[in-house]
């Protein structure tokens, strides 16, 4: 009985741990770095739903994240909407974007699909660059809402809040969102949708001929994947407190979102989690110790090593060992 709910118990245990961490009065940098690592895991997990299970390489991660970020910014500018509705709206909009992009581009195979999604990210960045309401190319600073409340309880306050400061709150929030994403990915993987997507990845025409509604499944996957990326973007402005199009639509996200699942392994939910954990941690260490250009170079080398020696990622490599 307990074995059957191992995963769910693990999720709850992780959330409890994340909560306890926020109550220990740790250094703010811990939450800043921890947030980044969790956000990486979430992005990798979201990407893998379409890329890993379905075999469609999305190079437009930055576009979905950016739409999420700027949905939040627009809502703050419009009427200081608080963080949870920001994230929900960001997910909804990015999900719709995923559906629309999917509808127009999923007939494109392989590299053409990847190029179309990359183009999307660039187009969206250009739009935001010219939209002054959200700060345009110069970017925008946002102030976290003072004393946010939820169901009557003060969430963030040094004395009476559930969390002592905003960073701790955001850390706990992204922990919950990451766990939710991993749960979604795992549910898909173990269900009919995941099996259908795998068939599409293996051979799309054979899948369609065997009764798999390929277009519908791909649209569901792009929508869910896009929505989760949008949510990961929606929380971003509050975390950074300043955001500009260059940051929100940073094309490095395209590289990272593909690299993390590839390093971890694309065929199971554990892969993106491991890859995200690894690359996220390396990146946080590298930011402190070396430059960000060197950082990308290291990533390149790591990717080449993995593609050559562990084509099925860490998960595949471990499974072969046993």
């Amino acid at each position: 009985m307990i074995m059957r709910y191992k995963f769910e118990i693990g999720c709850v245990a992780f959330l409890v741990l994340a909560f306890i961490l926020t109550q220990l009065g740790l250094n703010r940098f811990f939450f800043f770095a921890g947030f980044a690592v969790l956000q990486f895991i979430m992005i990798a997990t979201a990407w893998n739903i379409l890329g890993g299970y379905g075999g469609y390489i999305n190079f437009g991660t930055a576009g979905f994240l950016g739409v999420g970020s700027y949905t939040s910014i627009a809502l703050i500018q419009w009427s200081n909407v608080s963080i949870v509705p920001q994230i929900i709206a960001a997910a909804a909009l990015a999900g719709l974007l995923g559906l629309a992009i999917g509808y127009f581009t999923l007939r494109l195979k392989g590299v053409y699909f990847a190029i179309a999604t990359l183009a999307l990210a660039i187009v969206l960045e250009t739009v935001v660059n010219n939209w002054d309401f959200v700060g345009g190319a110069a970017g925008i600073s946002i102030l976290p809402t003072r004393k946010p409340e939820l169901l009557g309880a003060v969430i963030v306050d040094r004395k009476i809040g559930v969390f002592g400061n905003y960073k701790e709150f955001l850390f706990f929030l992204i922990a919950g969102m990451t766990i939710f994403s991993v749960w979604v990915a795992r549910t898909i993987e173990k269900g009919k949708l995941g099996r259908g997507l795998n068939a599409i990845k293996d051979n799309e025409e054979a899948a369609e001929s065997m009764g798999v509604p390929t277009l519908r499944l791909k649209l569901i996957a792009t929508t869910i994947s896009g929505a989760l990326m949008g949510a990961a973007g929606g929380i971003f402005p509050s975390y950074l407190t300043f955001i500009d199009p260059l940051t929100a639509f940073n094309l490095e996200f395209a590289v990272y979102s593909l690299a993390m699942p590839m390093i971890g392994g694309t065929f199971t939910w554990i892969g993106p989690v491991l890859g995200g954990l690894l690359l996220g941690t390396v990146q946080q260490v590298a930011i402190v110790t070396i430059s960000s250009e060197l950082n990308l170079l290291i990533l390149g080398v790591v990717l080449v090593v993995f593609v050559t020696f562990a084509p099925h990622g860490l998960v595949g490599w471990f499974m072969k060992k046993n």
Binding site: G196, N198, D202, E208, S209, M210, G211, V212, P213
Partner: protein, 241 residues
């Protein structure tokens, strides 16, 4: 005579300026074993693609079991009761043999069934095909005949009314051909209508109730196997004179 199961009426398919099928008209009866022959490049696979929905015909109408298939998506046609095999096997290579069969069962013939029931159905088909001991193998380790049998088994798993086999026997030895023939005939006896495309004349002629021959996209002969064998046009098409 009762309504045909499949009605192909003046079907035409062009690839750019090239006409791969030109005004092909024929019909397949319920329960029939139907042979489709013709030299390389004569349009056999193209016709199958038009029936199964991977291609859309440019002209003419295909009707199946009372449904007009024009414009219908391939997976809907599979749900309506048509499945086909691929001339070059296209297994789901990241899955085991068993999981390959589970796809059409889960999506077509056994939608809503429990995983255990789906596995049971898959296993029973593998047993009839003599592949039970391969159930949990990856497809990458399969031999040529095993791959061809998997192709057939996966199509049969969708429980089609009409099974279209595109050269399921190419490259097989005499004994293996007999083995596959026996399997197909036994499914036909359980009520499955079968279209067989084959270059191995002995196999098509032995199998079919009726045969048509395509040449350069045109239907040049239609009849009982013994009539087709004697047909001068068919002989010319194959000898290229």
């Amino acid at each position: 005579m009762s309504e045909p199961l499949l009605n192909i009426d003046s079907v035409t398919k062009n690839f750019g300026g090239f006409t791969a099928l030109s005004n092909v008209t024929t019909e397949v009866q319920v329960g029939e074993r139907f042979g489709l022959i013709g030299p390389n490049g004569s349009g056999k696979t193209t016709l199958i693609n038009c029936i199964s929905g991977l291609l859309n015909n440019d002209g003419g109408t295909i009707t199946f079991d009372g449904h007009n298939l024009n414009g219908m998506k391939a997976h809907k046609r599979t749900a309506a009761g048509i499945t086909r095999t691929f001339q070059i096997p296209r297994p789901f290579h990241s899955m085991t043999v068993m999981d390959n069969l589970k796809i059409p069962i889960e999506f077509v013939s056994g939608t809503g069934a429990s995983q255990a029931a789906i596995a049971e159905q898959a296993m029973s088909i593998l047993e009839t095909m003599g592949m039970a001991e391969k159930a949990h193998q990856e497809t990458s380790g399969l031999t040529q005949i095993e791959l061809r049998k998997l192709e057939l088994a996966r199509a049969i798993a969708a429980k089609p009314k009409l099974l279209i086999s595109d050269e399921a026997m190419a490259g097989l030895t005499g004994n293996e051909v007999d083995e596959v023939l026996e399997i197909l005939i036994s499914f036909n006896e359980q009520g499955m209508t079968i279209i067989m495309i084959e270059h191995i004349m002995r196999a098509v002629m032995q199998f079919s109730h009726r045969v048509i021959c395509l040449d350069a996209g045109e239907l040049i002969a239609e009849g009982k196997p013994d009539e087709i064998v004697k047909d001068k046009g068919v002989e010319r098409a194959y000898l290229g004179v």
